[in-house]
Amino acid sequence: MSTAERVVVDPVTRIEGHLRIEAQTDESGRITQAYSAGTMVRGIEIILKGRDPRDAWAFTQRICGVCTLVHGMASIRAVEDALHRAIPDYRIPHNAELIRNLMIAAQYVHDHVMHFYHLHALDWVDVVSALKADPKATSALAQSLSSYPKSSPGYFADVQKKVKTFVEQGQLGIFSNAYWGHPAYKLPPEANLMAVAHYLDALAWQREAVKLHAIFGGKNPHPNFVVGGVPSPISVHSEGGRGKGPHFRGGQEATAVNVVGLQTVQNVIRMMRDFVDQAYLPDILAIAGFYKDWGSRGEGLGNFLSFGDLPSKSFWDTDSYLIPRGVVLGRDLSKVHPIDLDADAEIQEFVSHSWYKYSQGDATGLHPFKGETELAYSGPQPPYKHLDVDKKYSWIKSPRWQGKAMEVGPLARVMVMVASGNAQARELVDSTLKTLDVPVEALFSTLGRTAARALESKILADAMQGWFDTLMANIKAGDVKTFNDQYWDPSTWPKHMQGVGLQEAPRGGLSHWLVVDDGLISNYQAVVPTTWNAGPRDAAEQPGAYEAALQHNHVLHDPKQPLEILRTVHSFDPCLACAVHVTDPDGEELIQVKVC
Amino acid sequence: MSATLEKGLHALREVIDAPIASYFSSCVHCGLCADACLFHTETGDPRYTPIYKLEPLRRVYEQEYTVLGRVKKLVGLAKPVDDAMLDAWQELVYDSCTMCGRCSLVCPVGNDIVYMVRKLREGMAASGHTPDGIRSATRRTVEIGGPMGLKWPAVANVLRKAEEATGLKIPVDQPGADYLVLLSSMEIVNYPEYIEALAKIFHKAGLTFTVSSDAFEATNAGIQIGVSDLARTIVTRIVEAAERLQVKHVLSPECGHAYMAIRWEGPNLIGRPFRFEVVHVLELLDELRRKGVLKMKDTFKDPLILHDPCQIVRRGGVLDAPEQLIRQVADNYIPVVDQQKWNWCCGGGGGASAIHTEEAEALRAKAFQVKKRQIESAGVDTMVTFCANCRIVIEEAFDHYQMDTKLLGLTELLAEHLED
């Protein structure tokens, strides 16, 4: 093995945004220290200042085009929460909550599937090895796992032929120069072929899945939202018509949410359940079976936070959430700690190792309502080889809950669900552990994180049908209200208000903190999942979730091919544009850099 | 001190008020007022467009009372009002304007143009830009007592003759009478039968009246020329006489400007309301008609039309009485198209009839064509009016055009057919 060295992975690919990992290894190749850095900023929080809060969703939505819904939703909720805090009887129509749930859940399932097959799978699946597979054996394997219809030998032979042609042409494109043949790849050729086939299937599947967003939001990526409900009126009319009850409009005098559109939604829900049940979950279990050793590395923090989401009644009724709100500390699933959103010391962001400056000193932590966003870039002048990790080294801030670093995301949610007593979650976790024949500790790992993503996809895909049925029942009963226009006009708002928009995004707990003065945004802070997970060390030198996970039991086979780093980092599903969204327009910083 | 440009501008600065400012701000140069002005319609000369006649006033307003105008003046973009301009405008403001007020009626933005002409004449007069004829009429009125230079003995003579003709007493300087009867020189000289008619009617109605030897003249050339100071002098005579004689009413004669002067301008000239009521003779007659006092012994048979004098009807507000009265006496009254407040001027009001230059007379004659057409299209040989000035102007025009149309005074016509 090699000598101790600094392994740099930049760009970390198959993620959203620009992430850089620097890992210090010892002589054995074991990672002793890991540093996670976001290397791109746009300054969206600053851009938002002085704008109409109703417009904010469109800006924040562009924080990320992958989890394309979550920032828009969080922003909408922030404005609504501000209104609700100021005007307690301010409410969102039930249909709007249901449609939002459907859109959020669709985002989860879509995002998780795409993450697994297109961003994460190539860490576990060797495409080149698939060429050696026997299509017949692959078919047998596939049929043994699930009832997924595309499992004939001919189907796999076709896929193999396609890949073969592709490889033989010599233009490998996106598959070129990868770690093919790395000894850490452990799947047999047949499993690889099956995964490659599902890689392609999932691409086709996801195109259909997003149609749910297109129906309600007009398009995907970046569907539309509106403060006070959803901007997708239901095309029914109650006057005239035959018999009782509402009638759907068709033709020109209609919106997308007509009988055809709702049928599409129903189809998408069915398709999502089918794919999760027949492909995603079985594939995860099958692949995980070959990588059980990853059940003992990559955990890191052991602290999990969930803001909760998917209300059956109202977002302000936290008891009606499908995903509960709370914190699990130190793997202790017996206790769920409550979260106080408004206490100054509860949620704070630190910039000790981030390129920002706080007016009260960089060692302090600030509650997001009082958050500051003044930049102090002090990194090396590009082009650079290494970041100075002892000082500041990232555009990402370090959020903490009661001073502790937290992991957010699917694993955190499943842990909080389990700890809160969600029966389906418990059952799924138990059966997964049993199928894989691994101890409960294996949950707290890179493997557990990737599996949790699949488990919650199942929980959500199942829940979607219920929300859809309720929506249809409401429509049938004549309730087609989807938007509350009562406080639409900012001139009807109180002069000062503030609110927080929470959302459990696919990558974890997301919070947008909004302060409004005279109908315009005076402060906007987005504390996003990847900030929690990918943030650098804080004032107390506590590492962030990525860093802690990488420092947990990783030995690199070959520092030149740091596949192990990718596996653990990808298990978090990094979304860097989300994490890095602030900067300062101050021109003087230019000079500072030159001085450095 | 004599008339100067500065004095004229000074006078204009005094009279410009909010309505004038509003009117000038509203004018859109649509030119519709031209269609309402007989001097334009009969000549086709665009200079006779009423609003154009006000250009000096407009310039003074703009340059003195608007910031933009002042700035324009400062940087030399505004043409100042000078003597040459006023000289050129004299014809437009006097010869070709009878202050008939028809233009004020048609202006789509509501500009009261004649209101402004009256004010502009203050400046024209003060700066010495007035026609000789009006000026001498004014002089005669102020110095002698009437525009024609008539003195009391001559009047007394006429009154005596009327007493003889009617056999009725015409009281002079009789205090406490119901009515102080005012006359106009023209009536006294040209239409003495008016006085006879009045005497008969008062007698019939059982009302008392008197004539004042100090204030028999009703016309007021000061208003026509546009000098309020002189107009005040003239009207004050009447006011003093009426208040001295403690009459309840002052009876304005048929003459239009006289009525305008005493009824509408009078109180404003002396700066206080009168202690008596001013009544136009037709108003009185109409009231008597309504009371049934005015009974006719016979009627006038020939078809006839009515000429409504501007200052009494359109500008004076005596709207309905003339037609009611003519219907009382005439069998074949033919209403013309432009009647009552829409009537066309005779062409000699506002002092114009006093201008005796060749050009002014030719212009008047030309302007009369509108009346001529009215008479011809009605196909009548008789026209009735109730303003001495109109009668003179119309008869001159009849002569000019060699028309043999008969022109009658309304009051005399009534008196002639009055039940004995």
Binding site: - | A18, H29, G31, T49, Y65, S104, P273, R315, G317
Partner: protein, 219 residues
């Protein structure tokens, strides 16, 4: 600056500026005009003048008897163009929204094809009026630079608005920006040109009505 930026400027700072100058100018000019005051008429009124000022404000919108025949272009053209302008300004849905955002008041609009037709009629009427001004001796004689200028600044918003809707000559965005800018030009110059009649007209008619009603003449 590209066309959308120009449009945004026109809708934003440009509009603010233009409306500011307009409001400033109107308030200033109104005070300038009406603070000159007038003397009370001491002659006793023939009868109470009541709402005569208001009557005149309304009555003067109709042509006097006979005048329609003598000046058909002025009246019919004027009617078509003024009513057309009013319809376009007050009953075209996008304009109603502007009015709503300025005043909070709104009402239903008319179909855009109708507005379109009205715009064409309005422009034809304005062109006829322009030709009339050139041809008719009185109008030509009275016309000053201000009259031609006022015609142009009034015509431009209608023309640009119509062309924007019809997608003529320039891209819609740019044409819309020009339309809004032309309206802003109109707003800016209105208080300082004869276009101010749009406001003083009411005062002028009211004065006429009052002054004449005092004598008993409805005008």
């Amino acid at each position: 600056m590209d066309d959308l930026q120009l449009l945004t400027w026109a809708r934003g700072p440009g509009l603010d500026l233009a409306l500011g100058i307009f409001v400033l100018g109107v308030v200033w000019r109104l005070i300038e005009v009406y603070a000159l005051g007038r003397k009370r008429d001491l002659a006793p009124a023939r009868h109470r003048t009541g709402a005569s000022g208001l009557h005149t404000v309304l009555r003067r919108s109709m042509p006097p008897p006979g005048m329609l025949k003598t000046s058909p272009v002025s009246y019919i053209g004027g009617f078509v163009f003024h009513i057309g302008l009013a319809i376009i300004v007050l009953l075209f849905a996008p304009h109603i929204l502007l009015i709503k955002s300025l005043t909070g008041l709104s009402w239903p609009g008319l179909p855009s094809q109708f507005i379109d037709m009205v715009a064409v009629l309005t422009m034809i009427a304005m062109l006829v009026i322009l030709v009339d001004r050139i041809n008719k001796p009185v109008k030509r004689f009275l016309s000053t630079f201000g009259d031609w200028f006022a015609w142009v600044v009034t015509f431009l918003p209608v023309l640009t608005g119509w062309m924007a809707v019809q997608h003529l000559l320039l891209p819609y965005t740019l044409m819309l920006a020009l339309h809004i800018l032309s309206v802003e030009l109109l707003l800016v110059v209105l208080p300082f040109t004869k276009l101010f009649h749009a406001i003083t007209l009411f005062g002028s008619r009211w004065y006429s009505g009052k002054i004449n009603a005092h004598k008993g003449v409805p005008v």
